[in-house]
Amino acid sequence: MTATLEKGISVLKEVIDAPIASYFSSCVHCGLCAEACLFYTETGDAKYTPIYKLEPLRRVYQQEYTLLGRFAKLLGLSKPVTDEELEEWKPLVYDSCTMCGRCSLVCPVGNDIVYMVRKLREGMAISGHAPDGLVGAAQRAVEIGSPMGVKLPAVKAQMKHVQADTGIEIPLDVVGAEYLVLMSSMEIINFPEYLAAIARIMKQAGKSWTLCSEAFEATNSGIQIGVSDIARVLVQRIVDGAEKLKVKTVISPECGHAYTALRWEGPNLIGRPYTFEVLHILEVLDGLRDQGLLKTTGFEETKLTFHDPCQLVRRGGVLEEPRRLLNLVANNYVETSDPGKMNWCCGGGGGVSAIEEAEPLRLQAFKIKKAQLEATGAKTLVTACANCRIVLEEGLEHYKMDIPVVGLTETIAAHLTKGD
């Protein structure tokens, strides 16, 4: 489909639903959302105020759905949204918004600004104003099945590697398994230790699990770029795989947006409830811990802290699970300032890490994370999102901070009792 301004504006009109109308009409212009956004706090530039990023959408709302706005439009007194303006807004809607949801959380009138950004991105994408990096990722996700171009042979190669590493067979397409394990492209490409950790944990717990050759990828570029049709296709692929294999539970991996897409947006996207349960891997691990099926030994000796992935903790509500799991294996654990649901984003969520031109701003925004980590004195940083992990590593490397970043699942697996 050819992207045009006309189609983009049409989509913007369509996406303005009752919540968005009420959000715009109830905004009291208090500016609290600015203080909650790392792109504003670290640059001091007012254009990064979250509600201001929505200006094109607000104007469409005003011109189409308010009495005074419609009169003004009729009389030619209001300025129409143009291609030039949307292009100017691209860095505000994409480069400087990780959809972390901190602004939504602090809004005193309860406006879900992330929801509005998601909807604005729909119009931006259809009008041809999405960043090239995200467009390419979304195209690959639909055509190949993975935003990073990962194909099944690559997954099988990693399975072989992990089998050799762990001595545990990695199951594929096992009908009737209890768990369907999904991975993000990042884990397939950069972090084979995640799959190795899953293999060890499931073996110890005595649980049946499988990968699916038709649905191994959890990442949802449709959510990031803001195209519901693509998001729907990607969710449906997982649903089809899970139902074909008749699994009870689908495990979302250490990937923030994958969890949001599958757990919270998925059923609405496909228009029906799932026939299976969706859990994040940390929810599964905490459940195994609760059942006494996660037996660990020893503790991490270094002082460590946890980076709360926004989509998992703030947006997803998986707040206590990582802390209970860390208590199993860490006796020198410290919280950062503003921990849990108020944590500061790594700066690379919402597709920002896929936008090359956004890198300088992302590194500038990382200063807040740097300050948080310095204050803890932690020697190891644990997180539960592969994208956060790389963004954190890059930020730490940029600011010459030698703090290893590790995944929570692999940290737990490293402490499983011997013989398991």
Partner: protein, 148 residues
């Protein structure tokens, strides 16, 4: 000493001292070095081969290899180039060679696994299937090292 599988390989590595493991790690990483053009990784592996290296030199080599590793990650949403990714895992093997030894870790085993991932990425990049003969090469490298 004949090493023909991972159990024997791992057992042989476990019996070595930390300093000797580093020497073995360097040889295992060097076996895949052709997959990585980054001179920082070459430098780290060369450093790890030295028996008289100081702690300060080791720390500098670690910083350098770590930077090479971080620089070569495939970022979220970017199309994966498997040749570049092979280079990343060589850098990771280089990091394993010179990183400070932690309790419960084995630099040589870590370097071996990263080197195998590098070779796996190479096989994906070249489209020659996923057969990976790096493990067998590593058994030979260790056996020859122990024999010398």
């Amino acid at each position: 000493m004949n090493i023909s599988n991972d159990s024997e390989f791992r057992a042989a590595l476990s019996s070595l001292s930390g300093a000797t493991r580093r020497l073995v790690a360097a040889r295992l990483a060097a076996n895949v070095l052709t997959l990585c053009p980054d001179p920082r990784v070459q430098g780290a592996i060369d450093s790890a081969k030295r028996t008289n290296i100081s702690d300060a030199e080791l720390a500098a080599a670690y910083q350098s290899a770590k930077a090479a590793s971080v620089d070569s990650y495939t970022q979220c949403g970017h199309e994966c180039n498997w040749s570049d990714q092979a280079s990343h895992f060589v850098a990771e093997a280089g990091v394993a060679c010179v990183q400070p030894e932690q309790p419960g870790t084995n630099a040589a085993w870590d370097a071996a696994m990263q080197a195998r991932m590098a070779r796996t990425c190479e096989t994906i990049a070249t489209g020659h299937g996923t057969d990976n003969t790096e493990a067998a090469a590593q058994y030979r490298i260790l056996a020859e090292f122990l024999k010398a």
